[in-house]
């Protein structure tokens, strides 16, 4: 499933594409889809926020983080979380737990 529309895809690519070494929007979108909708490895965690509309995935080893809308299904965002942000939360597990519990969105 792709981003919701071409504008979302273009803005997110511009903002985060370089973090993954992507040269094109297609490349970035493909990575986002693989991460959010592909098979999960042992190091990747998944949860659904209390609002029931955001499904999250996080891979602690490379700090890849993605959010997908549950219904209708599309990519909301996909980026590499800053190390400082993870440290501020108290580590990868705490960061993901906090993200999963967020209701201030």
């Amino acid at each position: 499933m792709p981003f919701a529309n071409p504008l979302e895809r273009a803005t997110h690519f511009l903002r985060h594409g370089a973090q993954f070494g992507c040269a094109t929007e297609d490349e970035y979108e493909e990575l986002a889809e693989d991460f959010l909708f592909g098979a999960m490895d042992a190091g990747t965690k998944e949860c659904v926020r209390p609002n029931g509309k955001d499904r999250l995935r996080f891979r602690g080893i490379n700090r890849n983080f993605g959010v997908a809308c549950v219904q209708p299904v599309f990519v909301r965002t996909f980026y590499r979380v800053r190390l400082l942000k993870i440290q501020r939360h108290g580590g990868p597990d705490a960061f993901f737990a906090d993200e999963c519990a967020r209701i201030n969105l």
Binding site: E8, A10, T11, L14, R15, V67, R76, T77, K85, R102
Partner: protein, 130 residues
Amino acid sequence: MKYQCPVCFYDGLPYPPIDYHICLCCGTEFGNDDEDFSPAQLRELWIASGAGWFFRTPPVDWNPWMQLQRAGAFEALQDAQKRAVIDAAFASFREDSDGLRQETLIAEEFSRADWEAFEMGERELAGIES
């Protein structure tokens, strides 16, 4: 319907500032960046980085300083940014034909003798003996 960014105050957003949408003007990702910093802090960072337009080309006549001023954020700016606002205001003044004519007249009235007196004063201030 258009929405306003709470960080840079750009009011042409095609979506509300939530749900990981990204501001076309300052590049703030809502739900990500504003989880770490307040809108005022993000605004300061944006201004400190030059207050540039984020996505593709800016709208015609877009001016970040005027945008901030219109939103009442002028007081938050540092002196350098305030000067940029004033420069932008003077630039628009020059586009006006009357303004340009007045500027030319003032320049013509500032005669050679005035320039010499002005330069002499400058040298004295700098401690240079002529």
